[in-house]
Symmetry: C2
């Protein structure tokens, strides 16, 4: 489906941006990408032009027909409401709550603790060197993935978290696993996570959304 | 409305628990409260009995007709789907996205950085004393409220964030302001936040949900 007027302001390596790219691809929506460099110029997300779109100074922002929407999970809910084909959430209220609960756990308890702004603050204010910062990230990733694995085990999922297609939970799980790989987290103790992530990585919507394949991906991080 | 079988596992001072109490009250739903003490016994949220309900080891958990749901915003969405009276979200998709975006910003970028488990880790692993931990909290609260104020100003709200009744955004905003007061944050530079929070605090649903009025509130923190 073509939906003129969908523009995603993103950063290639941001987990929250990655979530939205997957969702747009799962829905088969075409979109333009506008890179926001989180490190150049003191962080383009803090520049006035971007803050007029997104006063939270965070990526991503989705602009649809001239209206800007921030926060990745709010964008996913919006896409599901405006473009209901290939739903990101199951139909049943309880199943929706379980999927949202898993997505929110990753998006609100896992990822924010390893965000660039947090790592920068730990460095500048508390003097944590790179090794200490990496330990910080791995600590919270470990807590998060242990509990995600426990919750997934309790849900007894098939190929995906809920039903027979990936949705909002996988939009969060796959970028989180990508971040974990970047910090060399040992993932062997999370077999259900690994299985579902592996299934997702076979799906073109996830392949196209990968941080290694974006217009602003630096040469040394590009993949085929 | 009476909805038999609604049980909220909460902690009196937890922001996420406070959000859900407000939402239940706004909907006029009756519910039983089961306190989970986050500090006693190494944290009751880590005990097996609680982890069987909520593998994330976090409060709150809402149990409805025997089904457990975690993550406050997933609970709010569930309540809005199952009990649509007094909606927590506006009807229009864009307005819903704006309310969700604000709620998610507080729930995922503000509150988790000042969570008990994060402060405990900063103390035990990085040796931050109480003053340094309070500075950490105030830093992230300041960033968060500056951006919330900027976003609210752009939305040009009336008495509430969206429309003429409080909803999901206020369920997050009021507990966040309560946490800020606990850490003596100077709130005078956030006039729109203050105005909306002030309006909410006149509403019985918010008054009844206050941390000072819960069954597990310690005597020295009880209010009339």
């Amino acid at each position: 489906m073509n939906a003129p007027g969908l523009v995603l302001h993103h950063y290639w390596r941001s987990s929250a941006s990655y979530r939205v790219r997957i969702a747009l691809n799962l829905k088969g929506l075409e979109y333009a990408i506008r890179p926001v460099h989180l490190l150049e110029g003191g962080g383009q997300q803090h520049h006035d032009a971007y803050r007029r779109l997104n006063p939270q100074s965070l990526v991503p922002t989705l602009v649809h027909d001239g209206h800007a929407i921030g926060q990745s999970l709010a964008i996913l809910e919006y896409l599901d409401e405006r473009f209901p084909g290939n739903p990101l959430l199951p139909a049943d209220a309880l199943a929706r709550a379980q999927v949202r609960g898993l997505a929110l756990y990753i998006a609100s308890e896992g990822q924010p603790l390893m965000n660039l702004r947090v790592l920068q603050y730990l460095q500048t204010t508390h003097g944590l060197d790179e090794e200490a910062r990496n330990d910080w990230v791995r600590h919270w990733l470990t807590v998060n993935f242990c509990n995600v694995e426990a919750q997934l085990t309790a849900l007894k999922p098939g190929d995906y978290v809920s039903g027979d297609a990936p949705g909002m939970a996988e939009c969060c799980l796959v970028p989180h696993a990508f971040a974990a790989a970047r910090f060399q987290l040992d993932m062997t103790t999370y077999p259900t996570v690994n299985r579902i992530v592996g299934n997702c990585l076979q799906v073109p919507a996830f392949q196209k959304a990968h941080p290694g394949r974006q217009p602003d991906t630096p040469e040394e991080f590009r993949i085929g």
